[in-house]
Amino acid sequence: MAAIEFLDVSYTVPGGAQILDHVSLVIGEGEVVALVGRSGAGKTTLLRLVNRLLEPDAGRVVVGGRDAREWEPIRLRRSIGYVIQDAGLFPHFTVADNIAVVPRLEGWDDARIRSRVDELLQLTGLPPAVYADRWPGELSGGERQRVGVARALAADPAILLMDEPFGALDPVTRAELQSEFRGVQRRLRKTVILVTHDMREALSLADRVAVMESGEIIACDAPPAMLASGDARVRKLLEAVTVPFSQDS
């Protein structure tokens, strides 16, 4: 069954430009789909339609077999994990409290929250004894991003939305987190939409790569097929990949 379906959706900024132009995309359960394209292509906008941070002005978004508009927005958001570029951690909460946000909103008891937080810290490679009581301001960028991922996974959502999750990290940390993401995903099998402008990241993490340009999906395929694409616009993105490849290896 499809986990997320975009059916002919369009989105226009109120009183402004059209960002999405009749986009359709079906994402299966447990599938990782990367949205790739340059800034302003509409990747983040498409992502935000899923948890109703934005509403399409034409077409439908179906989440878990139900039209997103039928979902109560609060319910919907609590059942979807969300990771953003600089993690968006609450600076006045400790690491443990940040991870516990959704479980607390959902009214879990303290013991269950405590054990869940420890479990997630282990999963994301942050020893609980060291990190649980630290403040976001005391963490490195990579550590913050790990906490961001742990927070998104806290209530065990079936869907994970990731908007440039590794975008602000140095190349070494980024590679480290990417490889850990693959490991975690192998175990958890979440449905993931990953927004990135880095074609290499998309190719290495995603089951399918959707290339966006000017509010449209111009190509969508598995990485091997994408690498073999003859589309000039796709080739241009692929060429950009080879340059950093040669630089950091």
């Binding site: 958001r77 993690a87 968006g88 609450f90």
Partner: protein, 508 residues
């Protein structure tokens, strides 16, 4: 040294005044927070609303505090004489910094943090309580700090409308021209401001380090509850049903007469008396008496005739008394028998000048005034029996327009040569103390100013013994005796209550 002695000898009163001051500022600040923070949240959500709102708060802030007290006096429910009006004014002043810092604090929250909250499924309320307000808190506390510190300062002015607080000493000191008494109020007020500033700065810093939010929240809650309880208690205790409230004007003689009236009522009737002295002017006293904020105070017939009832000037003391008595009766107030002296305006010059130029009457002085400067109290410039009429009656012209200053400061200004002619009180103790000479009103411009207690008729009906007690004062205070008492306060630095006690023990 005198300052420390003053504090020691007045330590109970000092503690009461500090308590009142803290209560005024504390209550006002708490209410300002309760109103200002929601307003700030509202404005931050609707940027279109925030400009007019902050603009309005700004405008309120620019109104001088004394003027603000004046505006509010006649307003029902909010206004009147006493701490209530003072609290309202302090709240209005406190709103601007709090609203402004609330808006700034909320706008300063990084967009990804807010977005993360929404995306995790927080309701707008949960977002506000768990994320936005805690993050804006250091900024809000900074605003509260400004509001509280400004409040400590503004509250000193509240003494002018009988709200109590450390301003009492400042006003008392001004009216006695006694720097020690002024400092006795000003120094604790300054220290209080520093303590409040330091304390809230500490809270702000702690919040900045993002710890122990919950405990601070509890502390703040507990402090608010205690303040509100204290306040309620103070209001209840402040005016029982069996209490007579005695008011007075804000100069030495007014306060002494207030003490004499208050002690007479206490002695003769055994009723409890509350003192609301140093009210800032004739019209404030009048308004307070009309509203029932005070029950009795001492007024002068000529002042009531012209300034309160706006009647033409009259010269016959008996006729003036009758007119005034009838006018008061129409608004439910009774004039008791005159105390026995006439405190007319005295046009004063330095003794040195009077002797050198052989000045005896105002007409004599009119020949020299074109080269002189004059200084008058605020009231004298405005009132119908004041400067305008005097100038046209005697053809007075000065080198420059008269300087406006606090009545009690004019004596010093004259003695030190900053001005050359003032209008003082005929009974002022400073006249002889500073070697000043009153000029004769040879054209009889000024009406009689017989001192009379004015009281609310309903109070006199309820407590006839108060009327009887005040009758015992009729005709007992001569002009000479009054001058002597004023002098004891102004030059002898004696306490008004002690002066009144001595007087009452002598006349018995």
């Amino acid at each position: 040294m005198r300052l420390v002695e003053f504090w020691l000898s007045h330590r109970n009163e000092l503690l009461t005044l500090i308590g009142q001051h803290i209560l005024l500022v504390g209550t006002a600040t708490l209410v300002a927070v309760a109103i200002g923070v929601p307003l700030g949240v509202f404005a931050a959500r609707r940027p279109r609303m925030s400009a007019p709102l902050v603009g309005f708060a700004n405008m309120v802030q620019t109104v001088p505090s004394l003027a603000m007290f004046g505006f509010l006096l006649p307003v029902p429910l909010l206004g009147g004489v006493g701490p209530r009006t003072a609290v309202v004014v302090l709240i209005l002043y406190g709103l601007l910094p709090i609203v402004r810092t609330t808006i700034a604090g909320l706008n300063g929250i990084p967009a990804p943090v807010r977005e993360a909250g929404v995306a995790m499924g927080m309701t707008p309320r949960q977002l506000l309580q768990q994320v936005e307000l805690p993050l804006a808190l250091p900024s809000i506390v900074a605003g509260v700090r400004v509001a509280a510190v400004v409040g400590v300062g503004s509250a000193t002015i509240a003494a002018a409308i009988g709200a109590g607080g450390l301003g009492e000493y400042i006003y008392r000191g001004l009216s006695m021209v006694d720097t020690t008494v002024i400092l006795a109020g000003a120094i604790p007020a300054a220290v209080l401001a520093l303590v409040v500033d330091g304390g809230l700065l500490w809270v702000e810093r702690r919040l900045g380090s993002r710890r122990s939010h919950r405990r601070l929240g509890l502390t703040a809650g507990a402090v608010s509850c205690i303040a509100v309880l204290l306040w309620g208690g103070a209001l209840l205790a402040g005016r029982g049903s069996e209490t007579i409230v005695v008011g007075s004007k804000n100069f030495t003689e007014g306060v002494i007469l207030g003490e004499i009236v208050a002690q007479t009522i206490e002695r003769e009737t055994g009723l409890a008396v509350q003192r609301r002295f140093n009210l800032g002017g004739t019209l404030i006293c009048d308004r307070a008496l009309l509203n029932g904020d005070i029950d009795v105070y001492v007024e002068y017939t000529g002042t009531a005739l012209t300034a309160i009832f706006r009647q033409p000037l009259g010269q016959d003391p008996a006729a003036v008394l009758t007119t005034v008595r009838e006018s008061y009766a129409r608004s439910g107030r009774a004039v008791l028998d005159p105390l026995g002296f006439d405190n007319t305006f005295a046009i004063l010059v330095r003794g040195r000048d009077a002797r050198a130029l052989a000045l005896r009457t105002i007409d004599d002085a009119a020949r020299h005034t074109s080269g002189w400067r004059a200084g008058f109290g605020y009231e004298f410039l405005e009132r119908p029996d004041g400067y305008q009429g005097l100038a046209s009656t005697y053809g007075l012209r000065f080198q420059e327009p008269p300087r406006v200053m606090d009545l009690t400061l004019t004596y010093r200004a004259l003695a030190s040569g900053q001005v050359d002619l003032i209008a003082g009180d005929a009974t002022a103790g400073l006249i002889s103390a500073l070697d000043l000479v009153p000029l004769e009103d040879n054209r009889q411009y000024f009406p009689p100013y017989d001192a009379v207690p004015v009281a609310r008729s309903d109070m006199l009906l309820r407590y006839p013994e108060v009327g009887a007690a005040l009758e015992t004062l009729a005709g007992r205070i001569s002009a000479a005796r009054m001058r002597e008492m004023n002098h004891a306060a102004d030059a002898g630095r004696e306490d008004p209550s002690a002066i009144a006690r001595r007087f009452l023990s002598e006349v018995r």
